[in-house]
Amino acid sequence: MSSVAVIDYGMGNLHSVAKALEHVKPGEQVLVSSDKAVIESADRVILPGVGAIRDCMGELTRLGLDQVVHQVAASGKPLLGICVGVQLLMEFSEENGGHDCLGVFPGKAHFFGDHLQDENGEKLKVPHMGWNEVKQTVDHPLWQGIEQNSRFYFVHSYHIQAQQPELVAGRCHYGLDFDVALFRDNVFAVQFHPEKSHSAGLQLLKNFLHWNGQPA
């Protein structure tokens, strides 16, 4: 039996991630934990997150879990970042007046802005909340069985921009084009919520639970 750890650093609702994982792979041992030893001993690790970056980074660091994320990222073990999870993996976020993050991926998280418009000049709401199309820009084991331009559920006010285009796995458009999925070796990270994205999202989680950490 394989196991997956969902890193619990006290921010937001981890139950939906855990329930979705149990649903897509019955028998999988799902460990929602803030215990370093538990996280490091799991076969796969998920870094979820909702809320503001300062609180998320603050709690992660306070619990010593920032080091654990670095270790997992370097270990070759599959690591999946979700929502604020992907922003935490960047070098820097503009949120809360600017905040340093983990730096697993070179690049930043930027605010969408107060004057976001669509093609017809209509003002767009921020947060970007709801179902939007994701363009898969590479073949990756985590996209397997998911149709190109499938819709996923998003809720975020900051968008990531990778410094190296070769690390981008998926893009989206909302007033501007932005990165929504990044990959590097054994790490995959997404801005949307796969656990709330119905069949496309569940397929991605299923792919993750069967992934060996190799990019192709």
Binding site: G12, N13, H15, S16, K19, A20, E22, H23, V50, G51, A52, D114, D118, L124, K125, V126, P127, H128, M129, G130, W131, N132, E133, K135, N149, R151, Y153, F154, V155, H156, C172, H173, Y174, E195, K196, S197, H198, G201, L202
Partner: protein
């Protein structure tokens, strides 16, 4: 490529059963919430909202179990409202599997609660419900007032100003129900929907009055709503969710089909 407008079926839950009141009076039984939620999930609903309309604490425990049962089987966003008054209430619902909570009366009686909740749990999970009634006379400029207690108690608050204040306090989304329209099947109050949607930077969910698919279309195209909420047209199988989505897409609205 664009963000889709959302269709949100709403389940009014009383003592563990889905019911539907007409202007908050008559109650018709519409089934087991878990079964109803699963059906909407399979049909492609973009989100599901539950409003706990029971009064007693005992029944609130029932609601927690209902949310738990649904969250284990339905993988789209779930919002729970009704009787959310403290951060503990929010924590309980989030732990049960809700993604967002909808705060109504407590926002009026204690606006700081919205700020506290948003700071604690993040604006993305704080929906604030506004029950609106038109109070201007014919011939006067439109004016809408916030009501509580199922439309029985006036608050003196102007709906547009109140919506702006809620966003400043940290509301991530506004669920706007027209008490004049609710249960009538005559369509949303498009005037207040548009006025609120244009006044606030966060998404607005239009609610109250849907009787046919054109009402959903009007809510988005004329009311500028980001999402449309309806109950009875779906519960009693007058229309299915795919039928509604297809119709809205034919009218040029971006939908998740």
């Amino acid at each position: 490529m664009a963000l889709a407008k959302r269709i949100i079926p709403c389940l009014d839950v009383d003592n563990g059963r889905v019911v539907k009141g007409v202007q908050f009076l008559d109650i018709r039984d519409a089934g087991d919430p878990v079964e109803v939620a699963k059906r909407y999930n399979e049909q492609g609903a973009d989100e599901i909202t539950f409003l706990d309309i029971t009064a007693s604490h005992q029944d609130r425990d029932t609601m927690v179990h209902v949310v738990e049962a649904i969250a284990g089987q339905v993988f789209i966003p779930l919002t729970v409202g009704g009787g959310i008054r403290t951060c503990d209430d929010i924590r309980r619902m989030l732990n049960a599997g809700a993604d967002k909570v909808s705060i109504n009366t407590a926002a009026v009686t204690n606006p700081d609660f919205v700020r506290e909740a948003s700071e604690r749990f993040g604006a993305q999970c704080i929906v604030v419900a506004i029950d609106s009634k038109k109070v201007s006379q014919p011939g006067e400029p439109d004016r809408w007032e916030v009501f509580t207690h199922g439309g029985r108690r006036a608050t003196g608050l102007d709906v547009i100003e109140w919506a702006k204040k809620l966003v400043a306090l940290g509301a991530g989304e506004i669920l706007l129900t027209s008490m004049d329209a609710d249960g009538t099947k005559n369509g949303f109050d498009l005037g207040v929907t548009r006025a609120v949607s244009e006044a606030v930077p966060v998404p607005v969910i239009a609610s109250g009055g849907v009787g046919n698919l054109d009402h959903l279309v009007d809510g988005v195209l004329q009311g500028k709503a980001d999402a449309v909420l309806a109950a009875s047209i779906f519960h009693f199988n007058e229309y299915s969710i795919p039928e509604a989505k297809q119709y809205m897409a034919e009218k040029g609205i971006e939908m998740r089909l």
